[in-house]
């Protein structure tokens, strides 16, 4: 069933001309005789729009500040001379405005005539035909003749810039309204565009008058969306024409969770336009969400279920029924032979909440054990552990909008402009308003280069020394009397606080004592601590640079301690905010993916919790936690773990120590992979079940602000089934009945069993657009800011955070530290983004190395570098960069063949086994050929791809036994 939410029917579809003003002061005026009262500071244009009166306009739009260049919006105001522009004129008490009369009509026609006289008149064949504001305005003002011909100087043969893969810039159609320039500045914060020249000669230029691709442009598309003409235009619209209907849905690329209008022609997706009504993004997006959706219709999509008896055999295409029966039979045989605990499954942080819930239910109810885990294990499991211990809930405390009230923003181990771009743009907006920025990161991230930002501090710490740094920051806060004693007394547990205070005050935690460890000068640490603690609102944002360490959990607790000690919890503008990587990391954790917790972070050992679940699931639940992913791998190699069901994850590429993972996967008797492509993991599988993309299913994602957003189906799944339907079929084949007919019914069951979700339903989501959990009796409309009155554990708990250096240390053999990260245009393992034109920005993973380390080794930019650690060896191309400090090298892991994870080790967080991706001791040297692993990878890859291509053609595979339940 297609479930449309038609954005045309709601308030966000109208352009009110200028942005909203938030003043509490109301101002009353009349417009064309109509009385209206609006917040002070509102423009006459917006007031008119709110009163239902449309004033013609070209250069104004309601997500940009008014500029007043086209004059088309002229009005008359009683008692004032001339024809002021309504977009730049603020309302005043008692004002009487006239928007239409003969004089105004004539004025507007004259203006339009001038515009049109320098504009190609090829409307009928223009890609924006029917979707062009210039055309609309010509109609609105009643333009009937153009007295000036094209014979004078004009711009009609200005060239088109086609360099960007997703949009083109046809300068001949530009009316120099500067909306694009303002969008790039105000909305995106990149400042890539300018208006060059003056008067008639003025034109839009990217960068230093370069092609878009060569400029600083990050291809967010804000300018394309802002352009009223077809000058900046999506190539997909040029190719396919203007879309005819649209559906609001949620981006599946990152934890920001942007809302989009999927604009369609039949079941063909023409373009994605960020939705103004989306509470996470307010109408902005990045290059991934807006443009990189082509993978959904890529030829590599798996379209039929496939099975094989061993991974050295070609695939055999089969029916869904056959694939499901084959899987169920294998799983049952293995359990009969090796025991109930010999099988397990992995849920996905890319799939919906409903799908994740169903997979863990399948494991706990149909497999009869708790061997469920999720890839969030490898990114944010320490967040769950650390925040639950200190604040009592495994989630961030704020909305994204809260950052607009922060006075100091402390960013630790995160790179928002690349990994959470839309939130990065919002941060930059706040920085341009003058907030202070502190970045604690080994790399000089781009946020530090925010144009027109305020004060910026960088603490370039050594990888692996986070806890030492956070302790020294807290030491300064406590020893300099910067604590919020009233908050601590009222809100925190006193005994734990006293113990923590005594610990943190010890001299060994001072910035001076720890300078040698962190590498950050003590006076900079003191300055940063003051900048965070002395302002009214200090907000902390952190990412995987915090969690992916041997002390990831300790660091999360250290962050919570610092926020509590300074009273920066429980209101807007403050808080502790994990920036989640994949789109549904928050949701997959919430939905009970971890082996020790049922949905809603309820421990399996708690009999009261199990009782409630058992009553609804009608099955006994194991009271002991199950295996985590790394333990599953170890047990597989040991021969006690034999089968795995993996939905929408690529553990063979994303998990550390690839060779170990490959050994584990090869040891399995049955690997069932459900994915949209033949991913790296699927090459080791016996069953391949086609997955569905976010465009092909209904459900919900939960973003980093705990916001539950609807995902709506806009096209049918290529292989006929949404992912949750496949899990349901598998459960039924295993003899555990599941009979959902729509994901909304799964959500109803989640609400029934999860105390923080009791108020959530699809009906309520439809009504509110989105909901931030907890949503229950005490918070019927959800909870934008957490911990306002108390913590779920009552009082906040300070945890002692002793710094324990990681065992992953540099040695003579491995003298450099490797740290990993991601970039804007690619997503995670890259399976989706690599299959789009986004690869034009990042076609390979490279190793960034500091000039001094390079010189020492005689390495030049572009050389092939052998990178080895104690577990493996790979080869990457070199890029010399001083974003890193000497002694630290950096790479990404978006391409499987580069094998970045062949070098990362199995070191992990002590509490959660989240791998220590951010620190690996390595050596780097110049080489001339790929590593042995890479050669092996290429061979294996080629063979597996052949097996896929020849699927069904090979008759040598044994017929599986006859069907039947």
């Amino acid at each position: 069933m297609l479930n449309y939410y038609d954005p045309r029917k709601d308030a966000f579809s109208r352009d009110l001309g200028t942005p909203a003003r938030l003043s509490e002061q109301q101002v009353a005026l009349t417009i064309d005789g109509l009385e209206i009262s609006v917040p002070e500071g509102t423009s006459v244009m917006r007031a008119a729009a709110l009163a239902g009166i449309t004033i013609p306009k070209l250069c104004a739009t309601d997500n940009l500040e008014a500029f007043g260049s086209c004059r088309l919006c002229a009005v008359q105001i009683e008692g004032r001379r001339g024809y002021p522009a309504s977009c730049t004129t603020p309302v005043a008490e008692g004002m009487a405005v006239t928007t239409q009369n003969g004089k105004l009509a004539k004025l507007r026609r004259n203006i339009m005539e001038l515009y049109i006289s320098d504009h190609p008149l090829d409307c009928l064949t223009c890609p924006a035909n029917g979707d062009c504001e210039l055309q609309d305005m010509a109609g609105a003002v009643g333009l009937r003749e153009v007295r000036y011909g094209f014979e004078g100087a004009n711009h009609l043969d200005a060239p088109t810039d086609d360099s960007n893969p997703y949009f083109s810039f046809d300068a001949s159609k530009c009316i120099v309204c500067s909306r694009c320039v303002r969008a790039c500045e105000e909305v995106q914060g990149t400042f890539a565009l300018t208006i060059d020249g003056r008067g008639f000669d003025s034109k839009v230029a990217a960068g230093q008058d370069e092609d878009f691709m060569d400029s600083e442009c990050v291809s967010c598309g804000a300018c394309v969306q802002a352009c009223p003409t077809s000058t900046l235009m999506e190539k997909s619209v040029i190719d396919q024409g203007v879309p005819e209907h649209s559906v609001v849905t949620t981006c599946a690329y990152c934890g920001v969770g942007c809302s989009f209008k999927a604009e369609m022609k039949g079941d063909q997706l023409v373009r994605m336009v960020p939705y103004k009504g989306g509470d996470a993004n307010h109408g902005h997006s990045c290059v991934k969400g807006r443009f990189a959706f082509g993978y959904a219709t890529h030829k590599d999509r798996i379209k039929t279920p496939m099975i094989r008896d061993s991974i050295d055999e070609p695939w055999r295409e089969v029916s869904w029924e056959e694939a499901i029966q084959f899987s169920a039979r294998r799983l049952k045989e293995i359990q009969a032979r090796y025991g109930r605990e010999s099988i397990g499954g992995i849920t996905s942080s890319r799939c919906t909440n409903e799908e994740t819930y169903l997979v863990q239910k399948l494991i706990r109810a149909a497999f009869g054990n708790n061997n469920t885990d999720t890839c969030a294990r490898v990114c944010h499991s320490p967040t769950g552990f650390g925040l639950k211990t200190t604040l009592g809930e495994s989630a961030g405390t704020q909305t994204f909008d809260s950052v607009m009230k922060a006075d100091t923003i402390l960013v630790i181990g995160a790179n928002p402009t690349d990994a959470h771009p839309v939130f990065g743009s919002q941060m930059r907006r706040r920085l341009r308003q003058g907030a202070t920025l502190i970045v604690a990161d080994p790399r000089r991230i781009d946020l530090l280069k925010t144009p027109h930002g305020g004060r910026m501090l960088h603490l370039p710490l050594r990888p692996g020394t986070n806890v030492a740094l956070i302790n020294s920051l807290a030491h300064v806060v406590v020893s300099e009397g910067l604590e919020d004693q009233a908050f601590i007394d009222a809100r925190c547990e006193s005994g734990a606080y006293q113990a923590w205070r005594a610990f943190i005050l010890e001299e060994r935690n001072s910035p001076e004592a720890l300078e040698a460890v962190t590498g950050v000068p003590a006076d900079k640490v003191r300055e940063a601590a003051r900048a965070y603690a002395e302002v009214h609102n200090g907000a902390i944002y952190y990412g995987l640079g915090v969690t992916e360490h041997s002390q990831g959990s300790t660091m999360v607790m250290g962050i919570a301690n610092l926020a509590m000690a300074t009273g920066n919890i429980g209101r807007e503008g403050v808080g502790v905010n994990p920036l989640r990587g994949q789109n549904n990391v928050q949701g997959s954790c919430d939905m009970g993916s971890f082996p020790h917790e049922l949905p809603g972070y309820q421990h399996v050992a708690d009999p009261a919790v199990r009782d409630r679940f058992e009553a609804v699931w009608k099955v006994k639940i194991d009271d002991e936690p199950g295996l985590r992913i790394p333990n599953m791998f170890d047990s597989a190699i040991a021969g006690t773990f034999k089968a795995l069901y993996v939905q929408g994850e690529d553990i063979a590429q994303s998990d550390p120590n690839t060779q170990h993972v490959q050994a584990a996967l090869t040891s399995l008797d049955c690997l069932i992979v459900q994915d949209i492509f033949l991913n790296e993991t699927a090459k080791y599988a016996h069953v391949l079940l086609p997955g569905s993309t976010f465009l092909e299913k209904n459900g919900t994602f939960t973003n980093a602000e705990r916001r539950i957003n609807r995902v709506r189906k806009v096209m049918p799944p290529v292989a006929g089934k949404e992912d949750w339907e496949v899990t349901q079929d598998l459960a039924n084949a295993l003899g555990y009945p599941m009979n959902y007919s729509h994901p909304s019914e799964i959500m109803d069951e989640i609400a029934l069993l999860t105390p923080t979700f009791t108020g959530v339903s699809y009906a309520k989501l439809e009504e509110h657009g989105s909901i931030q959990w907890p949503c229950n009796e005490s918070h019927p409309d959800g909870t934008p800011t957490m911990h306002e009155v108390d913590f779920p554990i009552g009082k906040g708990h300070f945890a002692v955070t002793e710094y324990v250096p990681t065992e992953e240390r540099t040695t003579r053999r491995f003298p450099l530290l490797l740290t990993t990260g991601r970039i804007l245009s690619q997503y995670n393992v890259g399976a989706q983004t690599r299959r789009t034109a986004n690869s034009q920005w990042h076609d390979e993973d490279v190793l960034e190395i500091h000039p001094s380390d390079a010189e020492l080794r005689g390495i030049r930019d572009g050389d092939w570098l052998g990178v080895s650690s104690r577990v493996g060896h790979t080869v990457l191309r070199c890029r010399i960069s001083d974003r890193m400090q000497p002694g630290v090298v950096y790479t990404t892991f978006h391409h499987p063949g580069s094998g970045a994870n062949v070098i990362t080790t199995d070191s992990s967080d002590w509490a959660t086994n989240c791998p220590e991706y951010k620190v690996t001791a390595v050596q780097v040297e110049k080489v001339s050929q790929p590593s042995q692993w890479q050669q092996h990878f290429q061979d294996f890859d080629r063979r597996q791809k052949d097996y896929l291509e020849n699927a069904g053609a090979d008759a040598t595979v044994n017929e599986p036994a006859p069907m039947g339940k």
Binding site: A499, S550, E624
Partner: protein
């Protein structure tokens, strides 16, 4: 489980012990035992208990105490 898997478990307990703090070693061991009981799978607990029975030579002193406490918790539970 093979030597490698066991080695990994020993490494894990010792790492937990190094990061869990209490006023006394006894308290720290208590916390480690609670952590193991709460987060480790049945098979992992069984293996580490068996390892301690066999002498558990690579366990740090706190880890050793913690495993003994884990044994008590499981006997009581």
């Amino acid at each position: 489980m093979s030597g490698q898997g066991l080695e990994q478990l020993v490494k894990m307990v010792n790492q937990i012990s190094a990061n869990m703090h209490g006023a006394t070693d006894e308290q720290a061991a208590e916390k480690v035992a609670t952590h193991l009981q709460k987060f480790w799978a049945r098979s992992m607990k069984a293996q580490i208990l068996a390892y301690a029975d066999d002498g558990g030579e690579d366990l740090t002193p706190i880890s050793r105490q913690a495993v003994e406490k884990l044994r008590e918790v499981r006997a009581a539970g």
